[in-house]
């Protein structure tokens, strides 16, 4: 490394209320360097970069650029200091051309608007040829595929003179060919002296393009590694948590706090195959919001009373899988049968009445009516059912009574059934959603990140409820980014990678390192665990 690194962030702290999102994190990036920033969800990668780009203000810590202290209060400051960022979602004006999008917000030179635009266009052509970022400067942005639109974003940063370029999960929606092209461009850029920070969770890509990599976990830096001194196995181990000592003694993890070891043991003596099949999924294909068939030819059978856990890093098809299994997202092909009923083409309401209950990941967006009371939120989905109505009309008195019972049973902290759901804390909102799901007397229960952001007490409560439902014969699918959680709760663990099943283990034979390798896209399976 040179004497003064291009970028040096030192002891950066950022808190959100009581949550310490960044805990004295330091990061050094040199010139001519692609630096990978790795970690699971909530590790703090994006938060750290948002601090650097001026979107968040750090509580403490310093940022040096080329050895000089940098004060970054807004993206404008960041751009002036030569920092550019390409976000996961692009902010582009669809009806403008590539050139117009790139110059938008900059001062054009050359006297007149058209002269300035012409000069800008020449520079864009020059930049795109120099770095292999193939793009037609006169194309209208809305006609372009995702990969090209991403190039437009990169050119936007280069056009503004970025010397440090941050890319947030740039490969998520790219084809393999586009990924290769992107990496070639990145190499071309660092060759000319730029620095690139690549936020990612994919080990293969990191190894393919990065010179150095920093692994983050729980808002702290775990380790910074040189490409030369590491390999895939090692990196996977660091990501999954080698730094906490051996996996089994990862003491404060929720799995142990749950006390699952004793209770779970009895539950888990049943072997896969002992369950009568409850849900059959056959060669299902689902499209994501970007028009990509993320899940393709997916097969799965879940038995009555079986808990199947999907482990994986976000963006590998979790949302699409959850919504396909609950009738929220239409299937492009394939079929889903629940307890002998074919629900492939059914309305969402028919899925509900067939006993499919869903605890979505995004509680606020998909889970609750914020302005309505707990009573209304609990009845939503079953409001057309016979038990909810009297003489055709909704029986609100009975609904209120049921809500009171649920508030007691699920220990929802609220004054009354009329308390607005939007006024509840995150944990209590989750309890409302769970109460609704269990009130459906589900025969198939889909839970997506069911305990994210919950305290240990609430987490334990959720696990107890899941177990209870499984014991009464409900088929359960838990999709979670928390590997500990998946292992603690499931009878069968499946690793999810890029919309496919990258490995399957009965709970008795799960090796967390192996799961970690598979869910980050490594197919080599080595017996014996950690590297």
């Amino acid at each position: 490394m040179t004497a003064t690194p291009r970028l040096a962030m030192t002891d950066v702290v950022k808190t959100f209320g009581p949550v310490r999102a960044l805990d004295t994190v330091s990061l050094e990036v040199g010139a001519n360097e692609v630096h990978g920033l790795l970690g699971g969800n909530g590790a703090g990668k994006t938060t750290l970069m948002n601090v650097l780009f001026g979107l968040y203000k750090a509580d403490s810590g310093t940022v040096l650029i080329d050895g000089k202290a940098a004060v970054i209060n807004s993206p404008k400051d960041a751009i002036a200091l030569g920092v550019g960022m390409v976000h996961q979602t692009f902010l582009q004006v669809d009806t403008y051309t590539v050139t117009e999008n790139i110059v938008l917000g900059t001062a054009l030179e050359g006297g007149s608007h058209s002269n300035g635009l012409r000069a800008a266009r020449e520079r864009i052509v020059e930049l795109s040829e120099r770095f292999g970022l193939e793009v037609d400067p006169d194309a209208v942005v809305e006609d372009l595929p995702v990969g090209v639109r991403q190039r437009v974003e990169i050119l936007k940063a280069l056009f503004r003179g970025a010397q440090v370029l941050i890319l947030d999960e740039p490969t998520t929606n790219l084809t393999p060919q586009e990924v290769d092209a992107l990496f070639a461009s990145l190499r071309a850029m660092v060759k000319e002296g730029m620095s690139i920070i690549l936020i990612t969770h994919k080990i293969r890509e990191t190894l393919a393009v990065c010179d150095k990599m920093t692994v983050m976990r729980d808002g702290a830096r775990v380790q910074t590694l040189d490409r030369a001194e590491t390999d895939a196995e090692h990196l996977a181990a660091v990501m999954v948590g080698e730094s906490h000592g051996s996996y089994e003694t990862a003491a404060p993890s929720t799995a142990v706090a749950l006390g699952a070891t004793a209770e779970g043991a009895t539950h888990k003596q049943v072997v896969h195959g002992d369950f009568a099949p409850a849900i059959r999924i056959e060669s299902v294909t689902v499209r994501n919001d970007h028009g990509v068939d993320l899940i393709h030819g997916f097969d799965l059978t879940v038995g009555e009373g079986e808990i199947v856990g999907f482990a994986g890093v976000a963006g590998n098809g979790q949302v699409e899988l959850a919504e396909a299994l609950t009738g929220v997202r239409p299937l492009l092909s394939g079929s889903i049968t629940v307890q002998g009923t074919d629900l492939t083409r059914a309305q969402t309401s028919h899925w509900l009445s067939a006993g499919v209950a869903y605890v979505p990941e995004d509680r606020h967006r998909d889970g609750i009516l914020p302005k309505a009371g707990i009573t209304e939120n609990l009845i939503l989905g079953s409001h057309r059912g016979r038990s909810a109505r009297r003489a055709g009309l909704i029986d609100w008195k009975a609904a209120r009574e049921r809500a009171s019972v649920a508030i007691d049973k699920f220990s929802i902290r609220a004054n009354s059934p009329a308390t607005r759901a939007g006024d509840l804390s995150g944990g209590n909102i989750q309890r409302v959603i769970l109460a609704r799901a269990f009130a459906h007397e589900p025969r198939l229960l889909i839970l997506h990140n069911p305990t994210r952001g919950l305290d240990i007490g609430s987490t334990r409560f959720v696990y107890e409820q899941i177990r209870e439902a499984a014991d009464s014969g409900c088929a359960i699918v838990v999709i979670s980014e928390d590997l500990d959680e998946v292992i603690a709760i499931s009878d069968r663990v499946i690793a999810l990678y890029q919309g496919g099943q990258a490995g399957e283990w009965p709970s008795t034979e799960v090796d967390p390192y192996e799961v970690g390798r598979r869910m980050t896209g490594l197919s080599t399976s080595r017996t014996g665990g950690a590297a």
Binding site: G17, P18, G42, T419, D423, S425
Partner: protein, 368 residues
């Protein structure tokens, strides 16, 4: 400032664990938080309106007294006010019911005119029929015509995702041409001196109640309808779904509500109520369809619909308040020569202040 803290998901998806627990305001405090902003907005709007009148060189006290009291001074005033209340409240429903599902119906005047045309068509064509048959037929024809007119916008929305604001506004203009053709070509009344149809049959007229200042029975009909709507929105599954969709469309969809169908249904129901407004004015007030009968009920309906904020209980009450102001406007012009438009200024001020009070209230609440 650059602290763009996402409120719920927090940094990188790990949400802040502790959020302020729900406070425990009693029912009375809750009501106070709702009512005080209304009262304050009305008082302040009248104060500002009065200031404006004074600045224009009129006597503000006399003008405002005329606006506020003339409805209650005479029984004639009350009847006129109630006759104004009917189309205002119906046009307000025409706006508020689709709004509950998150859709904006800006076509109440077109739907009203179509309803009037439908009602007049039946009332003229079958003018010899007895009232038991003709009156219900006239009103139903009005409802259907309004519903069909809004149905065009609903179909465009559900099938082709055409923005409903655009389609309902544009259909208003089509309706003007359409009723012009009906009033000048199909059933023109040459002696009217104004584009209008010939009168409907006696059997199509709403019975009058009371004498001297007689009130048409459409007022009672709409009162019953107001109760029915409040009950239906609260107690029927469809009404619940409409409110749910307006609250959170995604969560409703995830929980099995067919959101696009509901949005279309909301527009059609709203259109039907707009149509009823037209048919009642034909059967109760004018006895015929005439150009210009839509007055400014579209805009008043929107104002009332927004002021009621989704409450189907508050809506008829708010509409009555606006009807009082609208009737008082005429008296004000007579008494103190202030132009009637001044009342629209006050109404707009009430709405603006009410919307502003949301900000103030949230600041106050979080400061507590």
């Amino acid at each position: 400032m650059s602290t763009m803290q996402k409120s719920e998901t927090g940094p990188g998806g790990s949400p802040p664990v502790a959020k302020p627990e729900a406070r425990g305001p009693g029912i009375l405090t809750n009501i106070a938080w709702t009512v005080v902003p209304y009262v304050a907005s009305v008082v302040l709007a009248f104060f500002l309106g009065g200031l404006l009148i004074q600045l224009m060189g009129y006597n503000a006290v006399d003008a405002l007294r005329a606006v506020l009291t003339s409805s209650f001074d005479t029984s004639f005033g009350m009847v006129e006010t109630l006759h104004k209340w009917v189309p205002i409240v119906l046009c307000a429903y025409a706006f508020a019911i689709p709004l509950a599902t998150g859709k904006f119906n800006i076509g109440a005047e077109g739907q009203m005119l179509l309803g009037a045309t439908g009602g007049a068509a039946v009332g003229i064509t079958f003018s010899d029929l007895p009232m038991v048959v003709l009156l219900p037929a006239t009103l139903v024809a009005g409802v259907l015509a309004g519903a069909l007119w809004a149905g065009i916008a609903a179909l465009l929305l559900v099938r082709f995702r055409v923005n409903e604001i655009l389609s309902t506004v544009l259909l208003n203009f089509v309706s003007f041409k359409l009723i012009d053709w009906v009033a000048t070509r199909v059933w023109p009344d040459a002696g009217a001196g104004h584009p209008a149809t010939t009168p409907v049959g006696d059997g199509a007229r709403l019975p009058l109640l009371g004498s001297a200042p007689a009130m048409h029975s459409g007022v009672l009909l709409v009162l019953a309808l107001a109760i029915f709507i409040a009950v239906a929105m609260r107690f029927t599954p469809t009404g619940f779904e409409m409110r749910a969709v307006g609250d959170n469309l995604r969560a409703s969809m995830v929980n099995g509500v067919r959101t696009s169908r509901l949005a279309g249904a909301g527009l059609v129901i709203g259109g039907g109520l707009g149509g009823l407004a037209g048919a009642i004015d034909v059967a109760g007030v004018h006895g015929r369809m005439l150009e210009g009968m839509q007055s400014n009920f579209l805009i008043l309906g929107i104002i009332v619909g927004l002021m009621a904020r989704g409450s189907m209980l508050a809506l008829p009450v708010v509409a009555f308040g606006i009807a009082v102001l609208e009737y008082g406007a005429g008296t004000m012009q007579l008494v103190s020569a202030v132009p009637v438009e001044m009342v629209l200024v006050i109404e707009a001020l009430i709405l603006l202040l009410l919307l502003l009070s949301d900000l103030v209230r949230d600041r106050l609440r979080s400061a507590r």
